[in-house]
Every structure is written in C-alpha cells, then in structure tokens.
C-alpha cells in the first residue's frame, strides 16, 4: 500500500503538468476573445481591440504563452484577469467562502439524505417506501436545475414571499440576525443542488447495498443472531460504501468548481459564476487558474479515494 502510494505521488507532478498543457491548448485554440463588448460599440475604434490583444499577448504563439503562464505559476503568480484587471488569486479567494458554504452544505445535505434513504430502500426493495424514494429521486435528476430552481423561486419567493432569491455575500446585519439571514438565503440554492445530487446518490447507494445484502457473509451474520440494525450498519453499509466513496470523491472538486446553473439562478457569487463569466468573456487567466486547481484536486482526491478503498475493503491490494 505505502509503496503504491509513493509511486502514485511520483506520478502526480507529471500528470498535473500534462493536464495543464492540454488545458492551455484547448483554451488558446477555442474561439472567442475577451473584448466582445467593445466590438458592437461604434465609438471604440478597432485599433483599441487590436492593441489590447497585443498587450495581453493574445497574438503570440501558444507555446510561448504557455511557458509564460507556467513560469509565472511556478513562482506563485496566478496571472492577471483581462476583464477585471485584477490578480486572479484575489478573484478566486474572494469567491471561495461562499462557494464552500453553499456547495459544501448542499453536498452534505445530499449525503445525509442519500445514505439513509438509499440503505432503507435497499433493505426493503419494491416496498412503498422504496417506490416513493425512487420516484422522488427520478424527479431529482430528470428535472434540470434551471427548472427546479425557478419552481422554488416562484413558490417560496413570489407566491409565499418567505425567502429572498437574490443571494448576497455581505449582509450588514450582526449577531444572530447575520446567521439567520445567511441561512435563509442559502435554503433554496442548497435545496436545489442537494436534491439534484442526492437524487442520483440515493440510487447508487440503493444499488450498492442491494449488491451486498444478499451475500453469504451477511446471511451468516444474520444467522449468528445479530440484530438487523447491526447487520446492516456494520456488515452491509461498510462494504457498500465503495461506489459511494467513488462518487463523493468525484463530486468533491465540484465544491471548488461550483454549480454554474444554480449559482446563476440565485446569483450566488461563487466560483462557478466566476468561471462561467470568465469563459463567456474568454478571460483565459481566470479559466486557466480555476480549471488547473480543479484538475489538481481531481488527481489528489482520486488518490485519496484509492486509499479509502483499502480501508473499506482490506482485501484490496494494489499491484
């Protein structure tokens, strides 16, 4: 195991560099440039755009731009946003707390719902409970978030007028009110994301538990006279966790990448909305920074899940 880990750690650096090269090439080749808005404004001469392109080095060959980016990155310089003329790391750090809070709570919510519901549904397959849970789960992933989000807004903000639907990162209230306001405005985005994510996880948990629950050792455990609760929790769930850990691991980088559509609907100033604005404005340094961090996270978390597999199922050996 430790040898395996060591070897994997050695792979990390070349993997990350390789991914950064691919990312950069894709971004550089993709059509579009950061000065879309200048284009339709007749009062801005075309030379202005050409000069800006030249100033930001957009006309240089791709490999030169890559080396420039890489050189700066190694020295801790994340680059400079074309659109905001601000350092990219400031932009990202400004968005981080909100993203962690909203997306983090939604994933937590999804997990808290999906685990028990999935397990319960699998212990009584095709019972009424299972049917209801399945149907709700299906709605969760058959309806796109732009629909569920709007539906919630229409019901809770417009007809009932209970919740605000414009998310504000800085709330002027203090003390308990501050927490209350933050909680209130986070309810809808967290619910939308949690529902969407939790829905599919419920299905995976159900399926994983079903796979395990009929295995011999579970029957053995039961026949030893252990209580059903103990059997399920100790013997079934732990073994059914492998797919769940895989999926949660896959989704974790999303905390960083944000949930673009939901953030857009509720105006949550998270990394997702930063990324989409940057992409639409072809603000390459920002896109590059966000996706690069994302890919590092993917690699590290994949490694972590591999380690977790070994803990969940000690028989797994890495050859």
């Amino acid at each position: 195991m430790s040898r395996y880990l060591l070897r994997q750690l050695l792979y990390v650096i070349p993997s990350v560099i390789g991914i950064s090269i691919v990312l950069f090439t894709v971004l550089a080749l993709a059509p579009g440039d950061p000065f879309e808005e200048l284009a339709t404004n007749p009062a801005i001469p075309a030379e202005v755009r050409a000069n800006l392109r030249a100033k930001f080095g957009l006309d240089d060959p791709i490999y030169q731009r890559y080396f420039r980016w890489f050189g700066a990155m190694v020295q801790g310089d994340w680059g400079f946003s074309f659109a905001s003329r601000v350092n990219v790391d400031d932009l990202i750090l400004g968005r981080l707390p909100v993203t962690l809070f909203v997306i983090g709570s939604s994933l937590l919510l999804a997990l808290v719902v999906a685990l028990p519901v999935g397990v319960l549904a699998a212990t009584r397959p095709y019972s009424v409970f299972d049917q209801i849970a399945s149907t709700l789960a299906l709605m969760g992933f058959a309806l796109p978030t732009f629909c569920t989000g709007l539906l919630l807004i229409l019901v809770f903000s417009i007809y009932l007028d209970w919740l605000p639907f414009v998310y504000r990162a800085d709330i002027s209230a203090t003390g308990w009110r501050w927490y209350w306001e933050h909680f209130r405005q986070a309810i809808m985005p967290v619910a939308v994301l949690g529902f969407f994510q939790g829905a599919s996880w419920t299905r995976y948990v159900r399926s994983a538990v079903l796979d395990v629950i009929r295995l011999d050792y579970v029957t053995t455990a039961r026949s030893k006279g252990l209580a059903e609760r103990v059997v399920v929790v100790k013997h079934v769930v732990r073994n059914a966790m492998i797919p769940v850990v895989t999926l949660v691991g896959l989704q974790l980088p999303a905390i960083f990448g944000g949930a673009i559509v939901t953030e857009q609907i509720f105006r949550v100033p998270g990394i997702g909305s930063l990324l989409i604005t940057a992409i639409l404005a072809n603000d390459t340094p920002v896109i590059m920074a966000v996706t690069f961090v994302l890919s590092c996270l993917v690699i590290v978390i994949n490694l972590l899940t591999d380690v977790l597999y070994g803990w969940l199922d000690p028989r797994i050996s890495y050859r």
Binding site: P31, A39, T40, R53, R85
Partner: protein
C-alpha cells in the same frame, strides 16, 4: 422647413422673441430636435437653459439604502478601462464627467461650471476648440481639490497607447491645454461639429491625478485605485467584489446642496434579466434593475404585481439584418466573403427587394419586443432630427412572390425557387438570444411562403462578437448570406454610428477583420457624404447628409432594419429616477430619490 426658415427661427430665439424651450418644441414637432437641436442653438450663440431639476428632498441623506440590480456585474471600476456598460455604470457611482447628456440631448453640467457656447466664448467659431470652465470648490472623496490638472491628466492618461485604455478613441487626436487652475481648452485638429465627446458622458468620467499619476502607461494595472475608486460623485466607495457587488456610502461633502438622498447604495450583479425583473417588479427585493432584455409579454405580466413599473427611455440602438454583398461560400486569397467577389444571389436586386418585404417587422414588434423594440424602416432612428421621412416598410408575401416571378426565379419541385441552376437557399446567422431566434423563425416562415429556403444558425454571443482572427463565426467575418444583430448608438450624434457603411471600414483579411463594415458594401456617394458630414459645422446641412446616408443604405437594401430598441429599466413604484437614452443609467444618480 428649409434652411432659411430655420435660421430665421434661431434668430428669433437670439432676440428673445422665441423661447429656447419653444424652439426645441417646434423642432420636435418637425422631427428635427432633441440632443442636437440644443447644440444647434449653442453654435448659434444661445446659452443653454437648465431644465429645472425634479429633485424634491430638502436635506442630504436620510433615504436609506438604494439597492440596484445589474444582471451583468461590474468587473472593474476604472472608467478608462470600462469594457462594457456594466463597468461604466459601476464607475459612474463614484466618478463624474464634466457634463452628461440628458434625455432631451441637453448637456447637464456635472463638473463643468457652465456649458460652453459661442456666446460665453466657450466655443470657437472655426469649430476647432472648446474652452471648459470647471466647477470650483469640488473635492475628491479623499479631500483633495479637483482642478484643471486633473482634466489634463485624464487626457494624457487615456491617450497614452501604453495605458491601453478603452477611451483612447476620444482622446488620441485632441490636445488639452490648461488655461488656469479651473479652465482648460480642448483643441481639435480640424473643425469638429460634435465636440461633446472628450470629458463628456461615459468616456468622460474623470479620475484623480494625485492617485493615478504614478500609474501611467504599462504600470496602469498596478494602481490600487483601479479597484478602490476615489472620485467626486455623490457616493463614496466602500467595497467591490468583481462581477458581484459594488457598495458605496453617502458623500457628505458632495458639491451640490441637499444631495444625494440615499445613505448608501449597493449594486448587485449576476443572474439573468427575467429574474432581475422579478426581484424589482414582483418581490420588491430591489429598487431598480437595468437593461430589461425581457419579452414585453413577461414584463407586462410582472408589472401586474403592482410593486413597480418598466421605464422606457428612447434611444437609437438598431436591430437589423445585414445582406452580404460578397460571396461567403467561395474562398479568394485565403478569405471568404472577400470584397473582390460578388454575392451569387444578391446580385439580383429583386432578391434583395423581396427579402425586404418578407421581414414581418410589425409582428416582430407586436409579439416579441412589444414596447422594447419599435418596427422601423430606417437604420438611423434617433435623434428625430436625423430621422429620414422618406423610407417606408411593408410586409407583403405576394409582392415578394411577384418580384421573384418577374425576375425569372421559378419554383422547383421542392417549392424552392431556382434560376440559372442557382437555388434560393440562404444561411441566416445571429447570436444566441431568445428574441433573435424567434425573429429568425418568423422570417423563415415568410421566406418559405415566397420560395426562399433559410437555414438558421445561432452562434454564442461570446464567439459571435469576438475579434480573434482564427474564428470563422464572428459577425465581422460574416461567412453567411444574412446576419442580424444590434448596433448601439452611444452618443446623440450619428457620426461614428454611420461610419459602418464607409468603404474604408470594409472588414477584410488585410485589416484582420477589424473594419466595421461587414456587409462589404461600397458606394462613392455614401463615402463622400460621410466625409462631408465629418467637418460640416452647419447643423442643418449636416443632418441632411446623415439622412441621405440612411436613405442610400435602405434603398440599396444593404441592411434591412427590424426594430430600434429603446432602453428599458424596471423601477420600484416609489423610486424617482433620472434616466437618459444618451448616457449611462446612473448618469444623474445624484438626483435619484425615494418618495415618502
């Protein structure tokens, strides 16, 4: 009304026999007025009367928080780098120009003490210079005085190519001279009829010399004040999160008495236009939302909630269809749509004329844009003084069929017309935008009835309006037969607006597709008229030249105008705003207040 009569009227105003207001009203009645009618008077030596301010509050502050919603958040707060309107608006909270433009096209002094005229010696008779007197006693938010040095500095800063400002176009050809501590002279290289550009309105917002002096040229990106503006405006900077939130607090030392009304302002960004409208009109979470690009049908329904209303401000942005004059399907010397080619189908004027009557502008207005887009036959629609009365539009499928029949286009077995082996199949592109896709659908159906097959294409705006050379889908490359988008008119003067049909603006491989004329239409008469208008000091003759240019473009079906689009904002019932179609929404933020 001819030139002689007009001069007579102006003389009457001069003598005092006709009021200034009466003159402008008369001009409006004749379709001859607004922004430039007042400039007409300034050139004739008549001082501009200030429109009485509608501002009611009698003390500064006490209005609570003003919450405005911009569905595209400001990404930077230095007006000289403001890439889009959203950035200009964010900067406008803190910075002011010498003058703004109100909705009638009058200049409104902000940091100028008075409007330059011939009479007060502000304007030179030869049209080659303007003297601006600055308001005294104005201080920046940090307490430093505002002087002529700041004005001169802004010119130097913006005109320096190394700074890469967006406003460079307004400053690079002029010279600015400091006359005394509160007077500057702007000098033009040639007679300039429209002098209200530098230091005026959106590109005229002034930044303080003492904070930006050290950050000229290539160092400009390092200025801390790029993100923490220190201006002269009614609100002082508190906090800025790019793309998300701009916050300001009342400037208690503002240079006008009893202003501003609100104690703080917050501008939230992001989301989409429809939900922004909901936040103002349905829930009242916000007081004001900008640029309501929303189908009028939805807007009307939202207004029913009774919390607010849509305010529509006339402007001249024009949604139009461009007809390609060159062949987009043949590559010549490494470019398609090369100016050396001719379009294989549009060479026949009957096809262009048929298309012109197949655009159902009435339905587009009635069922898609409503109050937010008015059907028009003209490319140049506002100010009324420049609007041609000679052009008419109609929607007539039968006429299109007759035109095509007469020109020898016969229907094939599939219902599509053919002539000399060439099928009437056209590709029609636009940006991705729901009203545009619906307009496309309406036009496609009409064309089908006339035996023309349209293939619709929609390109993401970020790609369509970009300027990267390798990208084939940009509106300037125009590698399709027809395309549709909106050209904005940001000043109450059509000079820069109309240069997009000049032959030297033709987009080509040679100029890296930076030219502004994607139709690649070339017309000597048009070129000459534009050149003449550029230096014509007589406002009446100048207007006639622009009207002729408009008519040339329409008569030759270089473009088919669809609707011109006024600006629409959602405003809560109690908020009193001061808006203009010729300046930023927040241009007169100091006059905004909430009714008790």
């Amino acid at each position: 009304m001819n030139e002689h009569e007009l001069r007579h009227l102006i003389a009457k105003v001069k003598r005092g026999a006709l009021s200034r207001r009466g003159f402008i009203q008369r001009m409006v009645g004749l379709g001859l007025t607004a922004p430039l009618a007042s400039q007409m008077l300034s050139y004739s030596g008549i001082a501009q009367a200030q429109a009485p301010s509608a501002y009611k509050p009698t003390k500064r502050g006490g209005g609570g928080a003003l919450k405005v919603l911009w569905w595209q958040g400001a990404t930077l707060l230095n007006p000289h780098f403001a890439v889009g309107t959203k950035d200009q608006e964010g900067s406008r909270i803190f910075y002011e120009p010498l003058v703004g433009w109100d909705n009638d096209g009058n200049m409104v002094p902000m940091l100028a003490a008075e409007i330059p005229t011939l009479q007060n010696g502000g304007l030179a008779r030869d049209g080659k210079s303007v003297i601006w007197k600055l308001k005294k006693g104005v201080t920046w938010h940090d307490g430093m005085p505002f002087t002529a040095d700041d004005v001169v500095f802004n010119w130097e800063y913006a005109a320096d190519p190394a700074t890469s400002t967006v406003s460079i176009g307004s400053y690079k050809d002029i010279k600015v001279v400091k006359l005394d501590s509160h007077t500057v002279r702007v000098e033009f290289p040639k007679p300039t009829p429209f002098w209200g550009d530098a230091f005026c309105s959106t590109r005229g917002m002034l930044i303080p010399k003492h904070l930006f002096d050290a950050y000229r040229g290539a160092k400009s990106r390092d200025a801390p004040t790029n993100l923490k503006p220190v201006g002269t405006g009614p609100y002082k900077f508190v906090d800025f999160k790019p793309g998300d939130m701009v916050r300001g607090v009342i400037n208690t030392a503002y240079h006008e008495p009893n202003k501003p009304h609100f104690d703080s302002i917050e501008m939230k960004g992001g989301g989409d236009a429809v939900s922004a409208a909901r936040a103002v009109l349905q829930t009242g979470e916000f007081d004001y939302a900008w640029n309501m690009q929303v189908e009028d049908e939805i807007l009307l329904k939202l207004e029913d909630s009774g919390k607010g209303r849509a305010i529509i401000t006339p402007g001249a942005n024009i949604e139009h269809i461009q007809v390609n004059n060159t062949d987009p399907w043949t590559e010549v010397d490494g470019e398609r749509s090369s100016a050396k080619t001719k379009h294989p189908l549009f060479g026949d004027a009957a096809v262009r004329r048929a298309l012109n009557v197949l655009v159902d502008r009435g339905s587009v207005e009635k069922h898609i844009y409503g109050r937010t887009g008015i059907a028009t036959a003209n490319f140049l629609n506002n100010p009324p003084r420049f609007t041609s009365k000679n052009m008419k539009w109609e929607f007539n499928v039968d006429k299109a069929n007759q035109l095509l029949d007469a020109a020898g286009w016969k229907r094939g077995s599939d219902g599509i017309r053919v002539k000399d082996g060439k099928k009437l199949k056209l590709v029609f592109q636009t940006s991705v935008n729901q009203p545009r896709q619906k307009t496309q659908a309406i036009i496609k159906q009409a064309c089908q009835k006339a035996g023309i097959d349209l293939e619709l294409k929609a390109v993401t705006a970020a790609v369509y309006f970009s300027s990267d050379v390798a990208n084939p889908d940009t509106y300037l490359k125009f590698y399709t037969d027809l395309q549709m988008y909106t050209t904005t008119m940001t000043q109450p003067d059509p000079e820069v607006f109309m240069d997009q049909f000049c032959s030297w603006q033709i987009a080509s491989k040679e100029n890296k597709w930076q030219g502004r004329n994607p139709t690649r239409w070339k017309n000597d008469e048009y070129d000459k008229a534009w050149r003449a208008a550029e230096n014509e000091l007589d406002p009446v003759k100048r207007a006639a030249l622009f009207i002729r240019m408009n008519d040339l473009v329409i008569e030759n079906q270089v473009v088919i105008p669809v609707v011109y689009r006024p600006r629409v904002a959602a405003v809560s019932n109690r908020l009193r705003t001061s808006l203009s179609g010729w300046d930023n929404d927040l241009f007169n933020l100091r006059d905004w207040y909430r009714e008790g």
